[in-house]
């Protein structure tokens, strides 16, 4: 038996239903995640929605990263320039706090949306 009209109809409705379900089930942007890397190596991934203080001690020095209320910031750092502390609170995908002297990067990743509801690819900062 060849392909019947009914089969085509079935396939079509399946696809349509799948699309609908996909929109219902798709992961929601709940504030995204924080990725911390030290000298290019992954240190850890954390939920931006939680509350956490992460203390990272290296030979080069200490950083304390604080996650709360959907934002992340560098709370303490003993790097000579202190730029990482001044970068303030980050909460949007694509943003990053960088401590150059300690080669430490705190990035906001995940499905974070901006005011227009569309994600950013990169942030110039």
């Amino acid at each position: 038996m060849g392909i019947k009209k009914k089969d085509v109809l079935l396939a079509g409705s399946l696809l349509l239903a799948a699309c609908l379900l996909f929109f219902v089930l798709r992961p929601k942007g709940d504030g995204g995640q924080i990725r911390i890397t030290v000298d290019g190596k992954l240190y850890g991934t954390y939920a931006l929605s939680g509350e956490e203080k992460i203390r990272i001690e290296q030979e080069s020095g200490v950083n304390v990263i604080h996650i709360r209320d959907g934002a992340v910031w560098m709370e303490e750092a003993d790097c000579p320039d202190g730029y990482c502390i001044r970068q303030g609170k980050m909460e949007r995908r694509g943003q990053a706090i960088i401590c150059l002297p300690h080669k430490l990067v705190v990035e906001v990743i995940g499905q974070e949306e901006n005011e227009n509801g569309e994600a950013l690819d990169v942030v110039v900062q």
Binding site: L10, A17, L21, R26, A71, M90, N114, V123, V124
Partner: protein, 353 residues
């Protein structure tokens, strides 16, 4: 009977298909494009944090980002002011020396940019940068007489370039140059060429404040580039949609030190030797030319709004800009207005005064 079968098949199929579609989401919740794989590398170089991304066939994309990183390391070795083996270090140490083709052409580019901006871009400001401690983090406010003395060594006209011999010599003792003001922009532009050579049509680099994009996103949409607000993380100045463009921001809001209640940021005005007080908090330059965008962002910041607008009107075909002032006013030049959106009010700078 048959009808029941269709209903069951429909339900099961739907669930399966939905799971399949949802499975297409990466752990970051993004839709992964099946035809194009993404390759990216993150690393520290040129005193900043860098990220290079390429989309394409997996092997090509991987090769492209590796080559991009190699190119940055190569340029860093050539242009570093701190690495004893670099050509620039040697020229600075001896007041003269030979330059290879790459370093020479970048130096000539720097000279052009300085002339174009009537000195607002100045790569001979390096001795002053050192005196202020911006190179090593040993911050201090130099005395007025020290600044005056160093201003005498801050002059692009004192850099004598012999193009044919590949040779450079400084007119005065103690003069030093730093091509760091365009090195990242040049690197970004070079990477776009490397991507093309490697068969990559879509990519993005972010080299510490220098962003450059190749083509569109793999899905054909324009890249969405957020501009950091000088006040910090929560808000953006705006979002620029772009293809085949470089976007570079200069601002004094991150790198600064405080002494006796005064704030001193790292962008020096080459005409005074002090941190530029032009009334701007940030200057963003948008151009197809990454090197130009890099050099101009600093120059525009030094110029301030009024001079920058006059300058832009003379160079409309070459770049666009987004300015944010101390009075919290946002200005955007006409050429990119259609691709710029912001939750802040902004004024459009048009070609006609």
């Amino acid at each position: 009977m048959k009808k029941d079968f269709y209903v069951i098949a429909l339900v099961c199929g739907t669930i399966l298909a939905a799971c399949f579609f949802c499975g297409c989401f990466g752990k970051e919740g993004e839709l992964l494009v099946l035809e194009d794989s993404e390759a990216s590398l993150e690393f520290f170089a040129m005193d900043t944090y860098m990220r290079v991304v390429a989309y394409g066939r997996e092997d090509q994309a991987n090769a492209a980002v590796s080559a991009a990183r190699e190119e940055i390391y190569r340029l860093e070795k050539l242009l570093s002011t701190e690495l004893e083996t670099s050509e620039i270090y040697q020229v600075n140490a001896h007041g003269k020396g030979e330059l290879s083709t790459d370093a020479l052409s970048l130096l000539q580019r720097a000279v052009q940019l300085s002339e174009m901006t009537e000195g607002a871009f100045d790569f001979t400001v390096y001795p002053l940068m050192r005196a202020w401690g911006f190179m090593d983090g040993q911050y201090r406010v130099p005395s007025p007489s020290e600044i005056l003395g160093l201003l005498g060594k801050t002059k692009v006209s004192g850099v004598l370039v012999d193009e044919e011999q590949g040779y450079v010599e400084f007119e005065a003792d103690g003069m030093q140059i730093d091509l760091g003001g365009i090195a990242k922009g040049y690197a970004a532009a070079r990477i776009m060429d490397i991507y093309r050579e490697k068969g990559i049509a879509n990519g993005l680099v972010s080299l510490g404040g220098n962003v450059q994009v190749l083509g569109t996103k793999p899905d054909g949409n324009l890249w969405r580039i957020g501009l950091q607000h000088p006040d910090g993380g929560k808000e953006y100045l705006g979002v620029l949609q772009a293809m085949d463009l470089a976007v570079v921001t200069s601002g004094g809001y991150e790198r600064y030190f405080e002494q006796d209640g005064e704030r001193y940021h790292h962008i020096l005005d080459p005409s005074t030797g002090y941190p530029a007080e032009s009334g701007l908090l940030s200057a963003t330059v948008v151009s197809a030319d990454g090197t130009l965008a890099d050099g101009l962002s600093t120059a525009i910041f030094v110029m301030g709004k009024e001079r920058a607008v006059a300058f832009w009107r003379e160079h409309i075909a070459e770049f666009d800009m987004i300015l944010y002032t101390q009075e919290e006013e946002l200005y955007v030049t006409q050429g990119i207005v259609g691709d710029f959106s912001s939750s802040l009010l902004f004024e459009i700078i048009s070609e006609e005064p």
